[in-house]
Amino acid sequence: MRVLLVEDETVMADALTRGLAAEGIDAEPVANGLDGLHRAREHRYDAIVLDIMLPGMNGFQVCRTLRDEGVWTPILMLTAKTGEWDEAEALDTGADDFLSKPFSFVVLVSRLHALVRRGAPPRPAVLRVGDLELDPATRCCRRGEHDVALTSREVALLGHLMRRPGEVVDKRDLLEAVWGHERGHDPNVVEVYVGYLRRKVDAPYGRRSIVTVRGAGYQVVDDA
């Protein structure tokens, strides 16, 4: 297993490299964000351990840049700062896991193994179908250059559809996924909300990206 270790604390980086080597993991240490970004682009790694406070370019920026460029290598972020905001921001920018310093070495190794097991399929933090964009974390939706304001229910529904672009999603699946925990919803509520979504993301731009497939469900397509 090959891991890129982006960490500016030399003692930490050195200890981790030796320790990971003993676990059969080949770690390549880099001491700043820009170098880390270059390495991650140029080479294939099974995972990246990324500190947040880095000289040159911080961990959030490195992570976001990699994801924007379509690099889906699993990323585990490290930070010595307190507060849940760092953790939330790390995951929202596209990191897969998070550890706060000081951490247990054993836990770090287990999490790296778990990350590598899951592999590196594309799992974008921001969903895109054609020029329709949705960031479920920030609830930002954009059609081309235009911001579209959506309610949280609409975000959930559109997100569920956009995670399977081109795939027909059954109405009951949508009901389950978006309204699942609430009992007694009429399946027609899905139709109603699809109507709301069309009025917001399609109709004003003369588009038809949310398609009804009779008897099957709905699909989101790139209709441009």
Binding site: M12, A15, A22, T82, P102, F103, S104, F105
Partner: protein
């Protein structure tokens, strides 16, 4: 809270209504009294004129009876007039004929005349006037009495009018006060609601400021300024805690990982190297803790060790000599320009800290040379440390004194410790200020960074 607001409103309204009520009552009483007085005086004046007319007629030779009888066709006074000689009524006006003696002092008279006409009401409903004159038969006292009934009617009319108008006036004052205080206090309620919503986590909220420019809107403006300061302070505090946490946790994390890995590897030969690295991290941790504690002491205005006199130039000379003896040969050359003793009063350990931190900073950034100058200027001691490094951009010259500020670019951390935690210059400034001095970054025409610390010279 709503009740409190109302109660201010209620209190103001009640007070205003009360004051208006009292004022109106006093004014009304005064008006009634004035009207009564002037109308009574008018009646008395008319009686007096009548008596003068009778007296003049008697003097001119008319008989009293004739004089008391009005010429036909002349509207007379309604007064009852009697001519009294030695306590006996000798003549009376037609209206007063048959009445008993009118006595201005006792204000009494017979109740009814002999022929049953209404006499004089003893209840004081009359005004009495008298004139002494002399006629053919000697001294005559002329006495007139006039009913005050018509006066009382007028006064009653005024009083009734006031009884209707004045309560309306008071009610209007109360209503207007209620309305105006309500309008004036409404923004206060808005401010209160916003301030209530402001908590530690929502300091970005601001209270509404009305455009009126009155006291309430000025209060709102002041409150917003206070919230601005609070928010800035809270953000600085959060930033400080986050930075301090980072600086403390990083070496702890390194120590833990180092130890865990050493235990995992179980390589006995590696321990000396492990210990060396651990000591390096421990030293870092210790330095951060020491600096943080010193900063906390300086912030707290805690009792200080006593100040003593010391020669700043000598202290700097010692430190420079120590460095030149121990510093690696590839380090920058430190030149000292301190020909004369510069005596200041201060706490030696803290002032040495200033010197060490300034030199650390200069050595860290210098390309090859550091020049240290100590001199007395007027009543101040000036310590200038000038390095030939890249200098500090003007927009960063205040920021370098903030806690945990490290101008990015050379943040390589580790045993060689080329960077501190970013507390060095912050301490320099805090200590200088604690000694009544200042610290700042100056323009250096020759390039590089020029840090100046100014202290008060000892007397």
């Amino acid at each position: 809270m709503r009740e409190h607001l109302s109660s201010v409103r209620v209190r103001i309204t009640v007070a205003a209504t009360l004051v208006a009520g009292i004022a109106v009552l006093v004014a009304g009483a005064w008006l009634v009294h004035g009207v009564q007085g002037s109308l009574t005086a008018a009646v008395r004046d008319a009686d007096r004129a009548e008596l003068d007319r009778v007296a003049n007629a008697v003097k001119a030779g008319s008989s009293i009876t004739d004089a008391l009888t009005l010429p036909p066709g002349v509207d007379g006074n309604t007064a009852y007039v009697q001519a009294v000689v030695d306590g006996q009524v000798v003549a009376a006006s037609p209206a007063a004929r048959g009445l008993g003696l009118l006595d201005p002092n006792a204000k009494i008279a017979a109740r009814t005349s002999a022929d049953g006409r209404p006499g004089i009401d003893p209840a004081g409903g009359y005004t009495f006037t008298s004139v002494d004159t002399s006629g053919p038969s000697g001294e005559i006292r002329l006495v007139a009495a006039s009913p005050l009934g018509p006066v009382q009617h007028s006064v009653d009319a005024v009083r009734h009018g006031l009884l209707v108008v004045l309560p309306l006036l008071v009610a209007a004052v109360g209503g207007l006060t209620w309305f105006l205080t309500g309008r004036a206090l409404r923004p206060v309620e808005g401010i209160r609601r916003e301030v209530e919503a402001v908590s530690g986590s929502t300091l970005e909220r601001r209270v509404p400021v009305s455009a009126s420019g009155d006291e309430v809107s000025r209060l709102a403006t002041t409150m917003n300024a206070m919230l601005d300061r609070l928010e800035a302070a809270a953000m600085r505090q959060q930033q400080f805690v986050a930075d301090a946490s980072h600086e403390l946790r990083s070496p702890v994390a390194s120590i833990r990982t180092e130890l865990e890995v050493a235990q995992l590897l179980g390589d006995d030969d590696a321990w000396p190297a492990v210990v060396e690295r651990l000591l390096g991290e421990e030293a870092r941790l210790e330095a951060v803790i020491t600096d943080l504690l010193l900063l906390a002491t300086l912030d707290e205005r805690a009792p200080r060790p006593p100040a003593e006199e010391l020669d700043l130039a000598a202290e700097v000379r010692d430190e420079v000599a120590r460095r030149n003896a121990t510093e690696a040969t590839d380090g920058p050359t430190i030149t000292l320009d301190a020909p004369d003793p510069v005596v200041v009063r201060g706490r030696v350990i803290q002032l040495r800290r200033v010197i060490v931190n300034l030199l650390d900073n200069a050595v860290r950034h210098a390309h090859g040379a550091v020049v240290v100058t100590v001199r007395a200027v007027d009543h101040r001691a000036e310590l200038v440390v000038h390095d030939d490094g890249d200098g500090i951009a003007s927009e960063d010259r205040e920021r370098v004194f903030d806690r945990f500020t490290r101008l990015d670019g050379h943040r390589v951390r580790g045993p060689e410790r080329t960077e501190g935690a970013g507390l060095g210059l912050s301490l320099v400034r805090s200590i200088a200020q604690d000694h009544g001095g200042r610290a700042w970054v100056e323009d250096a025409p020759t390039g590089g960074a020029r840090l100046v610390v100014e202290l008060r010279a000892a007397e």
